[in-house]
Structures are given as structure tokens and as C-alpha cells.
Symmetry: C2
Subunit: 159 residues, 2 copies
Amino acid sequence: MPHLIDDAEALLHEHGFKITGQRTLLLQVLAGQSTYLDAEEIYELAHAQDTSISLATVYRTLNLFADLGLVDHRYIEPEHRREVFRMSEGPEQHYLTCVRCGARVLIHANLLNRMAHELVRRKGVSVITACACFTGYCPDCTAELQQTGKLPTGNSLPG
Amino acid sequence: MPHLIDDAEALLHEHGFKITGQRTLLLQVLAGQSTYLDAEEIYELAHAQDTSISLATVYRTLNLFADLGLVDHRYIEPEHRREVFRMSEGPEQHYLTCVRCGARVLIHANLLNRMAHELVRRKGVSVITACACFTGYCPDCTAELQQTGKLPTGNSLPG
DNA sequence: TTCTTTGCAAACAGTTTGCAGTGTT
DNA sequence: AACACTGCAAACTGTTTGCAAAGAA
């Protein structure tokens, strides 16, 4: 984990950006998380360590990190309004957001990657970002709703 | 086309909503489009027919239509901030938005549907909405950039 | 006549930005 | 010492809402 932070700071330095307390703190906060957080959540976590940090700096820093490729930057909420960020590490993640309890169900990216490849091959486009956002019910809510007869057991799909 | 509008008005009536000039106008505007439009664009088109219509009414009406299942309601821009709407008709559409010229490349939904099915089967979730959003370069921009050597010919993919 | 719907303007949420002061290099 | 970075507060964008007037049933 400190590895990641050192590498990130090296990258910052390499690009002529300064290593400030706020940037280091935000790297620590991000490195300690495995899921996406929104700017407010990241701000809360950082603010708990250093009460002087501002939300504006959180936004500016997250955008800087995103430009440098240090963090992924996505919109995964049911209403895709709020940006969410996480350290760019490991394979891409996609989510189904449960509209009943808010849980996020992690989705492996194989199929989406296959989709991106087909696009490239068949349409002649280039893909920069691919994002799949699902809403629905998480396994627990699905089971609960089915038991109470509020959801048909033949799982419905959109369309 | 008038079919669609009649059906929509019947549905409104059936749910106890009133058929107003604004609602009919917005149905006409929507029925005349095959692609997603944002609220502002829809407002412009409607306003050209009836200068008294307001943006607030456009938003309220689009939300009502979405609740009734008359229109699809999505976030497909590179920054998924702005909502877009289109008449719910025919198969689901997904897009790649070109970050260079803004073009939207239409994507068939087969693979995304397959992805949704796998989710249901493997994770025990229920899917309500599925949305795939890609950014990249459209075929024209891809070709142009590749000819000027600004993009490698082995098309890059995210990750 | 009743109760929904509308237009207007103000509110709202999330994000960005101008500025003067602070801190890294 | 130079200049990037920060906090603050104000601006901005897209969307929603309270209210009084207008309109559909």
C-alpha cells in the first residue's frame, strides 16, 4: 500500500506537481479503499485526519489524479450525477446499484471488455472509456421480494 | 407516428392525467426524433412551436412520461451529468460518444443484454435498467487520427 | 367548479473558479 | 524568491420546487 502512494508521488513529481500535505493525505485515503467513493465521502475521511482540508481541494486534487491516470473517475449512481473515484488498480469494476437498499454489486468486466472489442472491430471506433451501469435489486433484496411475492421468480430484465 | 401519440394520450388519460397542449406538443416533438435529446434540446424544439412553454414544464413532463414508461431516460454524455430522453420504442440503444467531434455512435444491445442475463443467472440479482456508456473516437475521427499518426492503428481499449 | 397543470422565479446539489494568502521547492 | 497550491466564498449548470394564475374535466 505505501508502495502505491510512493509511486503516485513519484508520478506527481515527475510531472512537475508539488507534493503537498493534502495530496499525500488524499492518496492515503484513496489507497485505503477498495471501492468507489464520492468527493464528499473522500472529503469526510480526509477531514477526519486534517480538519483544515477543503472540499474544493478534494475536487481539484481528484481531478488532477484522474488526469494523471492515478484514479478512475466514474458515474455509477442510479441518477448518474455524483462522480465517484477510486485508485486505478486492478481490473475495471462495474456495478449494479440496488434501488431498494443502495448496495453495490460488483460485476466482473469480461463481458464489457468483449463488447468494447466488438465495437472496435465492427464499427471502426476507438474506445477510451467503457462504463456499464445497472440498477436493480441486489441478491438479498431479490430473494426477500420473491419470498413475499412482490417480485416474480422468473427474473425480469429491462426492455 | 400519430399512433404512438394517441396511445400515449390514452395512457395518460387512463392514469387520470390531463391531456394538455404542452403534453401533446412534447409527445409530437419526441415522436419526431429517433435519438436521445436532452431537456434543453427538447425545450428548443417545443418552444419553436409554442413560445409560451417553459423549461420547468419540459422537465416535469419528461419525468412524468418516464414514470409512465413512455420515454427512456438515460445519461450518455462523456460526463454523465445531463439527462437525455427518447420515446421508448424499439430495442434499447447505447452509445459511444466521440470525445473529438461529439458524434454518437449507436451500439446494438445484444451484448449488453447477454451481460444482464449472466448477471441475473450468476449473481442472483434482478436488473431494472442496464446502461452502457462508451467514450472514444467515432469511425471518422479514428481514421483521421490514424492517418496523421496521432493514434496507433492497433486500436486501444480501456484498462 | 374542482383539482391538475402551468410559468415564473427562486431553490437546490454537485462541481468549478477567482482571488488573496500559504507553503513547496 | 518564485510560483504552484490552498481555503474561502461566490459562480455555475442542470434540475426541482413553491406559489399564484390558468386550464382541463
